[in-house]
Protein backbone atom coordinates (compact mmCIF):
# COMPACT_ATOMS: atom_id res chain seq x y z
CA UNK A 1 0.00 0.00 0.00
CA UNK A 2 1.29 3.39 -0.87
CA UNK A 3 0.26 6.44 1.08
CA UNK A 4 0.46 10.00 -0.05
CA UNK A 5 3.54 10.63 2.10
CA UNK A 6 5.32 7.65 0.53
CA UNK A 7 4.37 8.88 -2.89
CA UNK A 8 5.74 12.31 -2.17
CA UNK A 9 8.98 10.95 -0.76
CA UNK A 10 9.35 8.69 -3.76
CA UNK A 11 8.51 11.57 -6.04
CA UNK A 12 11.06 13.86 -4.46
CA UNK A 13 13.74 11.24 -4.82
CA UNK A 14 12.99 10.58 -8.45
CA UNK A 15 12.57 14.28 -9.15
CA UNK A 16 16.09 14.89 -7.90
CA UNK A 17 17.29 12.07 -10.09
CA UNK A 18 15.38 13.39 -13.06
CA UNK A 19 16.84 16.83 -12.56
CA UNK A 20 20.30 15.38 -12.83
CA UNK A 21 19.64 13.03 -15.74
CA UNK A 22 16.87 14.55 -17.78
CA UNK A 23 17.79 17.75 -19.61
CA UNK A 24 14.20 18.16 -20.82
CA UNK A 25 12.90 18.54 -17.31
CA UNK A 26 15.79 20.82 -16.46
CA UNK A 27 15.15 23.22 -19.33
CA UNK A 28 11.39 23.13 -18.79
CA UNK A 29 11.69 23.83 -15.09
CA UNK A 30 14.17 26.65 -15.54
CA UNK A 31 12.04 28.48 -18.11
CA UNK A 32 8.90 27.96 -16.08
CA UNK A 33 10.52 29.18 -12.86
CA UNK A 34 11.75 32.28 -14.68
CA UNK A 35 8.24 33.02 -15.96
CA UNK A 36 6.87 32.37 -12.48
CA UNK A 37 9.41 34.72 -10.90
CA UNK A 38 8.61 37.40 -13.44
CA UNK A 39 4.93 37.03 -12.59
CA UNK A 40 5.46 37.15 -8.84
CA UNK A 41 7.95 40.03 -8.95
CA UNK A 42 6.05 41.95 -11.63
CA UNK A 43 5.81 45.24 -9.69
CA UNK A 44 9.55 45.20 -9.01
CA UNK A 45 10.63 44.28 -12.50
CA UNK A 46 8.58 46.73 -14.50
CA UNK A 47 9.61 50.35 -14.37
CA UNK A 48 6.23 51.68 -15.46
CA UNK A 49 2.61 51.32 -14.42
CA UNK A 50 1.10 48.90 -16.96
CA UNK A 51 -2.16 50.85 -16.95
CA UNK A 52 -0.75 54.37 -17.13
CA UNK A 53 -1.45 55.98 -20.47
CA UNK A 54 0.77 58.57 -22.04
CA UNK A 55 -0.77 59.77 -25.30
CA UNK A 56 2.30 61.81 -26.20
CA UNK A 57 4.45 58.72 -26.15
CA UNK A 58 2.31 56.36 -28.22
CA UNK A 59 3.51 53.61 -30.59
CA UNK A 60 7.16 54.24 -29.84
CA UNK A 61 9.65 51.50 -30.68
CA UNK A 62 11.75 49.68 -28.12
CA UNK A 63 14.11 52.05 -26.35
CA UNK A 64 16.00 52.30 -23.09
CA UNK A 65 13.02 53.86 -21.32
CA UNK A 66 10.51 51.42 -22.79
CA UNK A 67 12.27 48.13 -23.44
CA UNK A 68 9.48 46.66 -25.53
CA UNK A 69 8.20 49.99 -26.86
CA UNK A 70 4.82 51.54 -26.15
CA UNK A 71 1.33 50.72 -27.37
CA UNK A 72 -1.42 52.76 -28.99
CA UNK A 73 -2.26 54.49 -25.72
CA UNK A 74 1.35 55.11 -24.78
CA UNK A 75 1.41 52.32 -22.21
CA UNK A 76 4.72 50.56 -21.64
CA UNK A 77 4.58 47.19 -23.43
CA UNK A 78 7.31 45.65 -21.25
CA UNK A 79 5.35 46.37 -18.08
CA UNK A 80 2.20 45.06 -19.67
CA UNK A 81 3.90 41.85 -20.76
CA UNK A 82 5.37 41.41 -17.26
CA UNK A 83 2.01 41.96 -15.61
CA UNK A 84 0.48 39.82 -18.33
CA UNK A 85 2.61 36.95 -17.07
CA UNK A 86 0.89 37.45 -13.75
CA UNK A 87 -2.59 37.28 -15.30
CA UNK A 88 -1.76 34.34 -17.52
CA UNK A 89 -0.22 32.30 -14.74
CA UNK A 90 -3.02 33.23 -12.39
CA UNK A 91 -5.55 32.03 -14.93
CA UNK A 92 -3.47 28.93 -15.70
CA UNK A 93 -2.94 27.94 -12.06
CA UNK A 94 -6.55 28.51 -11.09
CA UNK A 95 -7.78 26.54 -14.09
CA UNK A 96 -5.45 23.67 -13.24
CA UNK A 97 -6.56 23.73 -9.61
CA UNK A 98 -10.27 23.81 -10.41
CA UNK A 99 -9.92 21.22 -13.15
CA UNK A 100 -8.08 18.83 -10.88
CA UNK A 101 -10.54 19.41 -8.06
CA UNK A 102 -13.67 18.91 -10.13
CA UNK A 103 -12.13 16.28 -12.36
CA UNK A 104 -10.90 14.31 -9.37
CA UNK A 105 -14.27 14.36 -7.65
CA UNK A 106 -16.14 13.36 -10.80
CA UNK A 107 -13.53 10.81 -11.85
CA UNK A 108 -13.38 9.18 -8.41
CA UNK A 109 -17.15 8.95 -8.15
CA UNK A 110 -17.56 7.58 -11.66
CA UNK A 111 -14.68 5.15 -11.36
CA UNK A 112 -15.48 3.86 -7.91
CA UNK A 113 -19.25 3.61 -7.89
CA UNK A 114 -20.46 1.51 -10.79
CA UNK A 115 -23.97 2.92 -10.62
CA UNK A 116 -22.80 6.47 -11.13
CA UNK A 117 -20.39 5.58 -13.90
CA UNK A 118 -22.89 5.39 -16.76
CA UNK A 119 -24.78 8.63 -16.26
CA UNK A 120 -21.74 10.69 -15.29
CA UNK A 121 -19.62 9.54 -18.18
CA UNK A 122 -22.42 10.04 -20.74
CA UNK A 123 -22.63 13.69 -19.69
CA UNK A 124 -18.84 14.00 -19.87
CA UNK A 125 -18.84 12.37 -23.32
CA UNK A 126 -21.36 14.95 -24.41
CA UNK A 127 -18.99 17.70 -23.36
CA UNK A 128 -16.11 15.93 -25.05
CA UNK A 129 -18.14 15.92 -28.25
CA UNK A 130 -17.63 19.66 -28.35
CA UNK A 131 -14.22 21.21 -28.93
CA UNK A 132 -13.13 22.66 -25.57
CA UNK A 133 -12.38 26.08 -27.06
CA UNK A 134 -15.94 26.29 -28.32
CA UNK A 135 -17.33 25.30 -24.93
CA UNK A 136 -15.23 28.04 -23.37
CA UNK A 137 -16.27 30.65 -25.95
CA UNK A 138 -19.95 29.90 -25.56
CA UNK A 139 -19.70 29.94 -21.79
CA UNK A 140 -17.94 33.28 -21.98
CA UNK A 141 -20.79 34.53 -24.13
CA UNK A 142 -23.24 34.01 -21.34
CA UNK A 143 -20.95 34.81 -18.42
CA UNK A 144 -19.47 38.05 -19.74
CA UNK A 145 -15.80 39.06 -19.75
CA UNK A 146 -13.92 38.95 -16.45
CA UNK A 147 -10.94 37.12 -14.98
CA UNK A 148 -13.05 34.81 -12.83
CA UNK A 149 -15.38 33.94 -15.67
CA UNK A 150 -12.46 33.03 -17.94
CA UNK A 151 -11.15 30.75 -15.22
CA UNK A 152 -14.56 29.19 -14.73
CA UNK A 153 -15.21 28.73 -18.45
CA UNK A 154 -11.81 27.18 -19.15
CA UNK A 155 -12.11 24.87 -16.15
CA UNK A 156 -15.51 23.62 -17.22
CA UNK A 157 -14.12 23.10 -20.70
CA UNK A 158 -11.25 20.96 -19.41
CA UNK A 159 -12.91 19.03 -16.59
CA UNK A 160 -14.36 16.26 -18.80
CA UNK A 161 -10.90 15.30 -20.04
CA UNK A 162 -9.46 15.19 -16.54
CA UNK A 163 -12.47 13.26 -15.20
CA UNK A 164 -12.23 10.71 -17.98
CA UNK A 165 -8.53 10.18 -17.37
CA UNK A 166 -8.94 9.81 -13.63
CA UNK A 167 -11.86 7.44 -14.04
CA UNK A 168 -9.80 5.11 -16.18
CA UNK A 169 -6.99 4.97 -13.60
CA UNK A 170 -9.50 4.57 -10.76
CA UNK A 171 -11.03 1.62 -12.58
CA UNK A 172 -7.64 -0.09 -12.51
CA UNK A 173 -6.68 0.86 -8.96
CA UNK A 174 -10.08 -0.15 -7.57
CA UNK A 175 -9.36 -3.77 -8.38
CA UNK A 176 -6.06 -3.76 -6.49
CA UNK A 177 -5.68 -5.94 -3.43
CA UNK A 178 -4.83 -3.10 -1.09
CA UNK A 179 -8.08 -1.33 -1.89
CA UNK A 180 -10.02 -4.50 -1.25
CA UNK A 181 -8.07 -4.98 1.97
CA UNK A 182 -8.83 -1.46 3.12
CA UNK A 183 -12.50 -1.97 2.42
CA UNK A 184 -12.49 -5.29 4.21
CA UNK A 185 -10.93 -3.64 7.24
CA UNK A 186 -13.93 -1.34 7.35
CA UNK A 187 -12.16 1.84 6.31
CA UNK A 188 -14.86 4.38 5.44
CA UNK A 189 -15.34 4.92 1.71
CA UNK A 190 -14.24 8.58 1.55
CA UNK A 191 -11.05 7.61 3.33
CA UNK A 192 -10.45 4.73 0.96
CA UNK A 193 -10.90 7.07 -1.96
CA UNK A 194 -8.63 9.80 -0.67
CA UNK A 195 -5.89 7.78 0.98
CA UNK A 196 -5.74 4.62 -1.05
CA UNK A 197 -7.19 5.24 -4.49
CA UNK A 198 -6.30 8.84 -5.29
CA UNK A 199 -2.56 8.73 -4.46
CA UNK A 200 -2.15 5.82 -6.84
CA UNK A 201 -3.80 7.69 -9.70
CA UNK A 202 -1.59 10.74 -9.32
CA UNK A 203 0.99 10.31 -12.07
CA UNK A 204 -1.28 10.60 -15.11
CA UNK A 205 -3.03 13.41 -13.27
CA UNK A 206 0.19 15.38 -12.88
CA UNK A 207 1.08 14.96 -16.54
CA UNK A 208 -2.42 15.99 -17.56
CA UNK A 209 -2.15 19.00 -15.24
CA UNK A 210 0.85 20.40 -17.13
CA UNK A 211 -0.92 20.08 -20.45
CA UNK A 212 -4.08 21.63 -19.00
CA UNK A 213 -1.92 24.50 -17.80
CA UNK A 214 -0.45 24.95 -21.27
CA UNK A 215 -3.92 24.78 -22.83
CA UNK A 216 -5.25 27.30 -20.32
CA UNK A 217 -2.52 29.81 -21.15
CA UNK A 218 -3.13 29.36 -24.89
CA UNK A 219 -6.92 29.49 -24.59
CA UNK A 220 -6.91 32.53 -22.36
CA UNK A 221 -4.79 34.27 -24.97
CA UNK A 222 -7.06 33.28 -27.83
CA UNK A 223 -10.25 34.11 -25.93
CA UNK A 224 -8.92 37.53 -24.99
CA UNK A 225 -7.63 37.99 -28.51
CA UNK A 226 -11.13 37.35 -29.84
CA UNK A 227 -12.46 39.89 -27.39
CA UNK A 228 -14.55 37.40 -25.45
CA UNK A 229 -11.99 36.70 -22.73
CA UNK A 230 -10.61 39.23 -20.33
CA UNK A 231 -11.76 42.84 -20.45
CA UNK A 232 -9.25 44.85 -22.54
CA UNK A 233 -7.87 46.96 -19.68
CA UNK A 234 -6.57 43.88 -17.80
CA UNK A 235 -2.99 43.36 -18.98
CA UNK A 236 -2.73 39.81 -20.29
CA UNK A 237 -0.84 38.39 -23.25
CA UNK A 238 -4.12 37.88 -25.08
CA UNK A 239 -5.42 41.39 -24.51
CA UNK A 240 -2.10 42.96 -25.52
CA UNK A 241 -2.13 40.94 -28.75
CA UNK A 242 -5.71 41.88 -29.39
CA UNK A 243 -4.91 45.57 -28.94
CA UNK A 244 -1.68 45.36 -30.91
CA UNK A 245 -3.34 43.72 -33.87
CA UNK A 246 -4.66 46.96 -35.34
CA UNK A 247 -1.25 48.60 -35.07
CA UNK A 248 0.67 45.57 -36.27
CA UNK A 249 2.22 47.43 -39.18
CA UNK A 250 3.34 50.55 -37.36
CA UNK A 251 4.21 48.82 -34.11
CA UNK A 252 5.09 45.15 -34.55
CA UNK A 253 6.70 45.05 -31.11
CA UNK A 254 3.28 45.13 -29.41
CA UNK A 255 2.48 41.83 -31.11
CA UNK A 256 5.88 40.15 -31.03
CA UNK A 257 6.71 40.22 -27.33
CA UNK A 258 3.51 38.83 -25.81
CA UNK A 259 3.47 36.14 -28.51
CA UNK A 260 6.97 35.06 -27.61
CA UNK A 261 6.08 35.02 -23.94
CA UNK A 262 3.20 32.68 -24.69
CA UNK A 263 5.46 30.40 -26.72
CA UNK A 264 8.07 30.32 -23.97
CA UNK A 265 5.56 29.52 -21.25
CA UNK A 266 3.72 26.86 -23.22
CA UNK A 267 7.03 25.39 -24.34
CA UNK A 268 8.28 25.12 -20.78
CA UNK A 269 5.05 23.45 -19.68
CA UNK A 270 5.16 20.99 -22.57
CA UNK A 271 8.77 20.12 -21.82
CA UNK A 272 7.92 19.67 -18.18
CA UNK A 273 4.96 17.48 -19.03
CA UNK A 274 7.04 15.36 -21.40
CA UNK A 275 9.79 14.95 -18.87
CA UNK A 276 7.34 14.06 -16.12
CA UNK A 277 5.62 11.52 -18.31
CA UNK A 278 8.92 9.80 -19.02
CA UNK A 279 9.66 9.90 -15.34
CA UNK A 280 6.36 8.68 -13.96
CA UNK A 281 5.53 6.10 -16.57
CA UNK A 282 8.32 3.59 -17.01
CA UNK A 283 6.45 1.89 -19.86
CA UNK A 284 6.47 5.04 -21.93
CA UNK A 285 10.04 5.78 -21.04
CA UNK A 286 11.24 3.01 -23.29
CA UNK A 287 9.28 4.24 -26.26
CA UNK A 288 10.42 7.81 -25.89
CA UNK A 289 14.11 7.01 -25.70
Amino acid sequence: MTTLADMLREFRKSAAKAWRRNPIIRIGTIIFVVVLLVAVLAPYISQHDPLKMNPLNRLKGPSRANWFGTDELGRDVFSRVVFGARTSLQVGLSVVFLTILMGAIIGLLAGFFKKLDGPIMRIMDGFLAMPSELVAISLMASLGPSVNNVILALSIAHVPRMARLLRSSVLVVREMNYVEAAEALGVPVPRVLLKHVLPNCLSPLIVQATSTFAFAVLSEASLSFLGVGLPPYVPSWGTILSGGRQFMMQAPWITMFPGMSIILTVLSLNLLGDGLRDLLDPKLRKIAS
Binding site: A129, P131, E133, L134, G227, V228, T255, G259
Partner: protein
Protein backbone atom coordinates in the same frame (compact mmCIF):
# COMPACT_ATOMS: atom_id res chain seq x y z
CA UNK B 1 -25.62 14.97 -29.47
CA UNK B 2 -28.50 15.33 -27.05
CA UNK B 3 -26.13 16.58 -24.36
CA UNK B 4 -24.72 19.07 -26.82
CA UNK B 5 -28.21 20.27 -27.69
CA UNK B 6 -29.11 20.54 -24.02
CA UNK B 7 -25.95 22.51 -23.37
CA UNK B 8 -26.74 24.86 -26.24
CA UNK B 9 -30.25 25.34 -24.92
CA UNK B 10 -29.30 25.87 -21.29
CA UNK B 11 -26.58 28.29 -22.33
CA UNK B 12 -29.22 30.80 -23.32
CA UNK B 13 -31.51 30.19 -20.43
CA UNK B 14 -28.97 30.35 -17.68
CA UNK B 15 -27.84 33.74 -18.89
CA UNK B 16 -28.54 36.46 -16.42
CA UNK B 17 -30.96 38.89 -17.99
CA UNK B 18 -34.05 38.52 -20.06
CA UNK B 19 -33.66 37.89 -23.80
CA UNK B 20 -36.91 39.70 -24.48
CA UNK B 21 -35.85 42.95 -22.86
CA UNK B 22 -32.48 42.61 -24.55
CA UNK B 23 -34.06 42.42 -28.00
CA UNK B 24 -36.34 45.36 -27.42
CA UNK B 25 -33.66 47.53 -25.90
CA UNK B 26 -33.88 50.14 -23.19
CA UNK B 27 -36.81 52.06 -24.62
CA UNK B 28 -39.32 49.20 -24.37
CA UNK B 29 -42.26 49.42 -22.00
CA UNK B 30 -43.09 46.67 -19.54
CA UNK B 31 -46.11 45.68 -21.65
CA UNK B 32 -43.99 45.32 -24.80
CA UNK B 33 -41.54 43.06 -23.03
CA UNK B 34 -44.39 40.99 -21.64
CA UNK B 35 -45.94 40.61 -25.09
CA UNK B 36 -42.65 39.47 -26.62
CA UNK B 37 -42.05 37.07 -23.76
CA UNK B 38 -45.44 35.55 -24.53
CA UNK B 39 -44.55 35.35 -28.24
CA UNK B 40 -41.24 33.65 -27.51
CA UNK B 41 -42.93 31.27 -25.04
CA UNK B 42 -40.54 32.50 -22.41
CA UNK B 43 -43.23 32.28 -19.74
CA UNK B 44 -43.68 28.55 -20.12
CA UNK B 45 -41.86 26.24 -17.71
CA UNK B 46 -38.26 25.50 -18.68
CA UNK B 47 -38.89 21.88 -19.62
CA UNK B 48 -41.77 22.78 -21.94
CA UNK B 49 -39.59 25.40 -23.63
CA UNK B 50 -36.85 22.85 -23.98
CA UNK B 51 -39.05 20.27 -25.65
CA UNK B 52 -40.59 22.74 -28.10
CA UNK B 53 -37.11 24.07 -28.93
CA UNK B 54 -35.74 20.58 -29.48
CA UNK B 55 -38.73 19.71 -31.66
CA UNK B 56 -38.13 22.73 -33.85
CA UNK B 57 -34.41 22.02 -34.15
CA UNK B 58 -35.08 18.49 -35.30
CA UNK B 59 -37.50 19.77 -37.92
CA UNK B 60 -34.89 22.18 -39.24
CA UNK B 61 -36.36 25.37 -37.83
CA UNK B 62 -33.41 26.86 -35.99
CA UNK B 63 -34.98 30.23 -35.39
CA UNK B 64 -33.95 33.63 -36.64
CA UNK B 65 -30.99 35.75 -35.79
CA UNK B 66 -31.86 38.30 -33.14
CA UNK B 67 -29.66 40.76 -34.96
CA UNK B 68 -30.43 40.46 -38.66
CA UNK B 69 -33.68 38.45 -38.46
CA UNK B 70 -32.30 36.02 -41.07
CA UNK B 71 -33.00 32.33 -40.47
CA UNK B 72 -30.05 30.79 -38.63
CA UNK B 73 -29.77 27.75 -40.86
CA UNK B 74 -29.44 29.90 -43.98
CA UNK B 75 -26.80 32.07 -42.32
CA UNK B 76 -24.79 29.01 -41.39
CA UNK B 77 -25.09 27.46 -44.84
CA UNK B 78 -23.88 30.67 -46.43
CA UNK B 79 -20.75 30.62 -44.31
CA UNK B 80 -19.99 26.93 -44.44
CA UNK B 81 -17.84 27.04 -47.59
CA UNK B 82 -14.90 29.14 -46.37
CA UNK B 83 -14.80 27.26 -43.08
CA UNK B 84 -14.74 23.89 -44.81
CA UNK B 85 -12.02 25.00 -47.23
CA UNK B 86 -9.99 26.37 -44.35
CA UNK B 87 -10.23 23.24 -42.22
CA UNK B 88 -9.54 20.86 -45.07
CA UNK B 89 -6.56 22.83 -46.35
CA UNK B 90 -5.15 23.15 -42.82
CA UNK B 91 -5.48 19.41 -42.41
CA UNK B 92 -3.66 19.06 -45.70
CA UNK B 93 -0.81 21.26 -44.45
CA UNK B 94 -0.61 19.43 -41.13
CA UNK B 95 -0.57 15.96 -42.69
CA UNK B 96 1.76 16.87 -45.52
CA UNK B 97 4.22 18.40 -43.10
CA UNK B 98 3.68 15.98 -40.29
CA UNK B 99 3.89 12.50 -41.76
CA UNK B 100 7.03 12.73 -43.91
CA UNK B 101 8.94 14.66 -41.24
CA UNK B 102 7.83 12.23 -38.56
CA UNK B 103 8.92 9.28 -40.67
CA UNK B 104 12.23 10.96 -41.40
CA UNK B 105 12.82 11.56 -37.70
CA UNK B 106 12.04 7.94 -36.90
CA UNK B 107 14.26 6.54 -39.64
CA UNK B 108 17.14 8.83 -38.75
CA UNK B 109 16.57 8.33 -35.05
CA UNK B 110 19.26 9.58 -32.73
CA UNK B 111 20.91 11.73 -35.37
CA UNK B 112 21.07 15.48 -35.63
CA UNK B 113 18.18 15.47 -38.09
CA UNK B 114 16.02 13.71 -35.52
CA UNK B 115 16.99 16.14 -32.79
CA UNK B 116 16.34 19.12 -35.06
CA UNK B 117 12.93 17.85 -36.11
CA UNK B 118 11.98 17.11 -32.52
CA UNK B 119 12.95 20.54 -31.28
CA UNK B 120 11.08 22.24 -34.11
CA UNK B 121 8.06 20.09 -33.28
CA UNK B 122 8.32 20.96 -29.61
CA UNK B 123 8.50 24.61 -30.51
CA UNK B 124 5.71 24.36 -33.06
CA UNK B 125 3.34 22.83 -30.54
CA UNK B 126 3.82 25.85 -28.32
CA UNK B 127 3.08 28.50 -30.95
CA UNK B 128 -0.40 29.97 -30.74
CA UNK B 129 -1.83 29.63 -34.26
CA UNK B 130 -3.33 33.09 -34.27
CA UNK B 131 -0.02 34.66 -33.39
CA UNK B 132 1.70 32.75 -36.18
CA UNK B 133 -1.03 34.10 -38.44
CA UNK B 134 -0.37 37.66 -37.34
CA UNK B 135 3.37 37.32 -37.84
CA UNK B 136 2.87 35.81 -41.30
CA UNK B 137 0.52 38.61 -42.28
CA UNK B 138 3.14 41.06 -41.14
CA UNK B 139 6.14 39.57 -42.92
CA UNK B 140 4.90 37.43 -45.80
CA UNK B 141 1.58 39.05 -46.62
CA UNK B 142 2.42 42.71 -46.24
CA UNK B 143 6.21 42.64 -46.04
CA UNK B 144 6.77 40.60 -49.18
CA UNK B 145 3.36 41.20 -50.70
CA UNK B 146 3.10 37.67 -52.04
CA UNK B 147 -0.31 36.70 -50.79
CA UNK B 148 -3.52 38.41 -49.79
CA UNK B 149 -3.78 38.75 -46.02
CA UNK B 150 -7.48 38.93 -45.49
CA UNK B 151 -10.84 38.31 -47.04
CA UNK B 152 -12.06 35.53 -49.22
CA UNK B 153 -13.33 34.84 -52.74
CA UNK B 154 -15.88 32.06 -53.25
CA UNK B 155 -14.87 28.94 -55.14
CA UNK B 156 -17.01 30.01 -58.08
CA UNK B 157 -14.32 32.59 -58.94
CA UNK B 158 -11.86 29.83 -59.70
CA UNK B 159 -9.94 27.35 -57.58
CA UNK B 160 -6.58 29.11 -57.52
CA UNK B 161 -8.15 32.47 -56.99
CA UNK B 162 -9.81 31.12 -53.86
CA UNK B 163 -6.89 29.13 -52.60
CA UNK B 164 -4.46 32.04 -52.54
CA UNK B 165 -6.54 33.47 -49.74
CA UNK B 166 -6.17 30.28 -47.77
CA UNK B 167 -2.43 29.64 -47.98
CA UNK B 168 -1.48 31.69 -44.94
CA UNK B 169 -4.52 30.79 -42.83
CA UNK B 170 -4.00 27.10 -43.56
CA UNK B 171 -0.38 27.29 -42.46
CA UNK B 172 -1.31 29.24 -39.34
CA UNK B 173 -3.92 26.68 -38.38
CA UNK B 174 -2.13 23.60 -39.66
CA UNK B 175 1.44 24.10 -38.51
CA UNK B 176 0.91 23.75 -34.74
CA UNK B 177 -1.01 20.55 -35.45
CA UNK B 178 1.69 19.14 -37.70
CA UNK B 179 3.97 19.34 -34.68
CA UNK B 180 1.67 16.99 -32.83
CA UNK B 181 1.44 14.65 -35.80
CA UNK B 182 5.24 14.54 -36.13
CA UNK B 183 5.60 13.34 -32.57
CA UNK B 184 2.99 10.63 -32.89
CA UNK B 185 4.29 9.45 -36.27
CA UNK B 186 7.81 9.30 -34.92
CA UNK B 187 7.02 7.29 -31.81
CA UNK B 188 4.73 4.76 -33.51
CA UNK B 189 7.15 4.36 -36.39
CA UNK B 190 9.93 3.65 -33.91
CA UNK B 191 7.81 0.90 -32.40
CA UNK B 192 7.00 -0.63 -35.73
CA UNK B 193 10.54 -0.39 -37.09
CA UNK B 194 11.64 -2.64 -34.25
CA UNK B 195 9.21 -5.44 -35.08
CA UNK B 196 10.10 -8.75 -36.67
CA UNK B 197 8.17 -8.27 -39.88
CA UNK B 198 10.08 -5.13 -40.71
CA UNK B 199 13.30 -6.97 -40.13
CA UNK B 200 12.05 -9.77 -42.39
CA UNK B 201 11.12 -7.30 -45.09
CA UNK B 202 14.57 -5.81 -44.90
CA UNK B 203 16.15 -9.23 -45.00
CA UNK B 204 14.16 -10.08 -48.10
CA UNK B 205 16.07 -7.29 -49.75
CA UNK B 206 13.13 -5.00 -50.34
CA UNK B 207 14.08 -1.44 -51.14
CA UNK B 208 14.20 0.94 -48.23
CA UNK B 209 11.28 2.87 -49.65
CA UNK B 210 9.11 -0.24 -49.80
CA UNK B 211 10.01 -1.29 -46.29
CA UNK B 212 9.24 2.09 -44.79
CA UNK B 213 6.30 3.03 -46.95
CA UNK B 214 4.49 -0.24 -47.23
CA UNK B 215 5.43 -2.31 -44.22
CA UNK B 216 6.23 0.17 -41.51
CA UNK B 217 4.04 3.17 -42.24
CA UNK B 218 0.97 1.14 -43.03
CA UNK B 219 1.22 -0.65 -39.72
CA UNK B 220 1.59 2.51 -37.73
CA UNK B 221 -1.39 4.22 -39.31
CA UNK B 222 -3.92 3.65 -36.53
CA UNK B 223 -2.44 5.97 -33.91
CA UNK B 224 -1.60 8.39 -36.70
CA UNK B 225 -5.20 8.38 -37.88
CA UNK B 226 -6.39 8.98 -34.35
CA UNK B 227 -4.22 12.03 -33.92
CA UNK B 228 -5.15 13.34 -37.37
CA UNK B 229 -8.81 12.95 -36.51
CA UNK B 230 -8.35 14.78 -33.25
CA UNK B 231 -6.41 17.50 -35.03
CA UNK B 232 -9.08 17.93 -37.65
CA UNK B 233 -11.79 18.20 -35.05
CA UNK B 234 -9.79 20.81 -33.12
CA UNK B 235 -9.09 22.65 -36.36
CA UNK B 236 -12.79 23.02 -37.03
CA UNK B 237 -12.96 24.79 -33.69
CA UNK B 238 -9.70 26.59 -34.39
CA UNK B 239 -11.25 28.26 -37.41
CA UNK B 240 -12.94 30.57 -34.91
CA UNK B 241 -9.66 32.29 -34.15
CA UNK B 242 -8.01 31.91 -37.55
CA UNK B 243 -10.98 33.35 -39.41
CA UNK B 244 -10.86 36.35 -37.11
CA UNK B 245 -7.17 36.92 -37.76
CA UNK B 246 -7.56 36.69 -41.53
CA UNK B 247 -11.03 38.27 -41.68
CA UNK B 248 -12.54 35.28 -43.44
CA UNK B 249 -16.33 35.40 -43.35
CA UNK B 250 -16.88 31.82 -42.19
CA UNK B 251 -18.75 30.06 -39.42
CA UNK B 252 -16.00 30.67 -36.92
CA UNK B 253 -16.25 34.39 -37.48
CA UNK B 254 -20.00 34.04 -37.06
CA UNK B 255 -19.51 32.46 -33.64
CA UNK B 256 -17.45 35.42 -32.48
CA UNK B 257 -19.79 38.07 -33.85
CA UNK B 258 -22.80 36.30 -32.40
CA UNK B 259 -21.10 36.21 -29.01
CA UNK B 260 -20.41 39.92 -29.27
CA UNK B 261 -23.95 40.73 -30.33
CA UNK B 262 -25.42 38.27 -27.84
CA UNK B 263 -27.19 36.69 -30.79
CA UNK B 264 -28.14 33.45 -29.06
CA UNK B 265 -30.03 31.58 -31.78
CA UNK B 266 -27.04 31.95 -34.11
CA UNK B 267 -24.66 30.85 -31.36
CA UNK B 268 -26.81 27.82 -30.56
CA UNK B 269 -26.91 26.89 -34.23
CA UNK B 270 -23.15 27.23 -34.70
CA UNK B 271 -22.44 25.13 -31.61
CA UNK B 272 -24.75 22.42 -32.89
CA UNK B 273 -23.13 22.41 -36.31
CA UNK B 274 -19.54 22.37 -35.06
CA UNK B 275 -20.34 19.64 -32.56
CA UNK B 276 -22.04 17.66 -35.32
CA UNK B 277 -18.92 17.96 -37.50
CA UNK B 278 -16.83 16.88 -34.53
CA UNK B 279 -18.96 13.78 -33.98
CA UNK B 280 -19.00 12.93 -37.68
CA UNK B 281 -15.22 13.26 -37.96
CA UNK B 282 -14.78 10.88 -35.05
CA UNK B 283 -17.14 8.42 -36.67
CA UNK B 284 -15.32 8.61 -40.00
CA UNK B 285 -12.00 7.98 -38.24
CA UNK B 286 -13.46 4.93 -36.54
CA UNK B 287 -14.64 3.65 -39.90
CA UNK B 288 -11.25 4.31 -41.46
CA UNK B 289 -9.63 2.04 -38.88
CA UNK B 290 -11.36 -0.91 -40.49
CA UNK B 291 -10.11 0.10 -43.88
CA UNK B 292 -6.54 0.59 -42.69
CA UNK B 293 -6.40 -2.49 -40.54
CA UNK B 294 -8.76 -5.29 -41.56
CA UNK B 295 -8.23 -6.95 -38.18
CA UNK B 296 -10.32 -4.25 -36.49
CA UNK B 297 -13.93 -5.43 -36.21
CA UNK B 298 -16.99 -3.72 -34.86
Amino acid sequence: MLVVATFAFLLVHLVPGDPASMILGDMATVEDVERLREEMHLNAPLIVQYITWLGRVVRGNWGNSLYSQQPVLAMLAERAQPTLILSVSSLFVAVLLGIPTGVLAAVRRGTKIDAAILSVAMFGAAIPGFWLGLVMIMYIGVGLGWLPTSGYQPLSTGFFNTMQYFVLPAIALGFPHSALIIRVVRSTMLDVLNTDFVRTARAKGLSKFMVIGKHALRNSLIPILTVIGMSFATMVAGTVVTETVFSIPGMGRLVVTSVMRRDYPVLQGSILIVAAIYVIVNLVIDLLYVWVDPRVKY
